[in-house]
């Protein structure tokens, strides 16, 4: 039980950290100043969420792990983030598409996690939900703007949807550690939030003049929650962990 709670907390921390790190790469490269600042702020929110989860994880393990060692000294097989958070940014369309699909998942997920019997997970969810609400709104508006925009923007957001969609199935498939925590009402039953997520995504895609792909005939990537990643995570960690690996224990 305690071990599952630790793994589950890391899963949530890793989701936010890897998505936040990916988005942070846009800093200084956004299509215009205001949007550059917006995506940087969202990255900051996500990294802040991950700190809260890592700090909590460090308190529930018997090892001498700290929030920093959990973020900077684990290898890719130990990371259990959703694959959608680690895939490359691509263009602005792909970045906003994966952020929208992920943030909408976080939005419904945290609404459930608030009711967790684990008080600290519930508290982090309560805090994060307010921020995520803004992320859903911002990224959703971009989907609409690009989809219902020019021929070029429509082409790009369509391609983005096609590319990102096969990474959404995993969000609703519980890992073993999640299932075992359901009994004590610690974890969220992710299959329960699928309908709400679908409804929201369908609404936004419709307004963006895009067709909801559905998941009937789509092969979905899985494995991230159990440490089986795409080739991209190793590259992220190589950059993100470089300093702590090269100069162990260094501090600002």
């Amino acid at each position: 039980m305690q071990n599952d709670l630790f793994t589950y907390t890391l899963h949530l921390a890793d989701n936010s950290l890897i998505m936040g790190h990916r988005l942070s790469v846009w800093t200084g490269h956004g299509p215009m100043l205001e949007q550059d600042i917006a995506i940087t702020n969202i990255a900051l929110d996500l990294i802040g969420q991950s700190r809260n989860f890592y700090q909590y994880a460090a308190t529930i393990t018997e090892t001498d792990a700290t929030e920093d060692s959990l973020a900077y000294l684990r290898d890719s097989r130990d990371f259990s983030n959703l694959l959608i958070t680690e895939i490359t940014n691509g263009d602005w369309a792909k970045t906003t598409m994966k952020l929208f699909l992920f943030s909408t998942w976080q939005f419904y997920f945290f609404q459930q996690l608030i009711n967790s019997s684990d008080k600290q997970l519930a508290a982090i969810a309560e805090k994060s939900l307010k921020e995520v609400t803004y992320h859903v709104r911002w990224s959703g508006e971009w989907i609409i703007r690009l989809g219902d925009g020019t021929e070029e923007s429509n082409k790009r957001i369509k391609a983005a949807l096609e590319e990102v969609w096969p990474f959404t199935g995993e969000m609703f498939l519980p890992a073993e550690y999640e299932k075992s925590l359901l009994n004590n009402h610690v974890s969220v039953n992710v299959s329960d939030i699928k309908n709400d997520w679908n409804t929201k995504v369908i609404n936004v895609l419709e307004e963006a003049t895009l067709i909801f792909p559905g998941d009937k005939n789509t092969w979905m990537h899985t494995g991230g929650k159990d440490g089986i990643h795409t080739e991209h995570l190793g590259h992220i960690l190589a950059a993100m962990q470089f300093l702590q690996r090269a100069y162990p224990g260094c501090e600002w």
């Binding site: 702020n41 802040g48 969420q49 809260n52 600290q120």
Partner: protein, 167 residues
Amino acid sequence: MIMTKIKENITTGGIWKLMEEIYDPEIPVLSIIDLGIIRDIQINNNDIEVFITPTYSGCPAMDIISMNIRIALMQDGFKNIKITQQLSPAWTTDWMTQHGKEKLKAYGIAPPLRKRFDQKYLEELKVECPLCHSQNTKLISQFASTACKALYQCNDCLEPFDYFKCH
């Protein structure tokens, strides 16, 4: 002896007063009391524990605020200082004092409008320009110079300005 002795008869009320002199490094007109960041203060002989709540999860000002609280308490003679981060109940702009909202406006940042964070905040808001007080303003970006603010522009005086978002 350089170390100052703890003042006689120190009260939590006195410490709350002391906290009014610690300012947000990002919005230097607001004290941490104006912002509603301090949730509780407990004193037990020489030990003091201050409970703070972050405005946003990733707000970089929180580390500096914690450090400034620690320095202020050390200068007051406390040795065993504990600063505990409390996430629940989550911080809301409702906790910002009226005095704080007025200072924010005078500083050129439109204060948060709604009383409570709810789904309705997603609707269009009429934010008053803190410079010319016109209601004829438009949203430029939902995220501005910091995560807690949005960027607006006044259609009358044409000045851009920050709006402290409801949260």
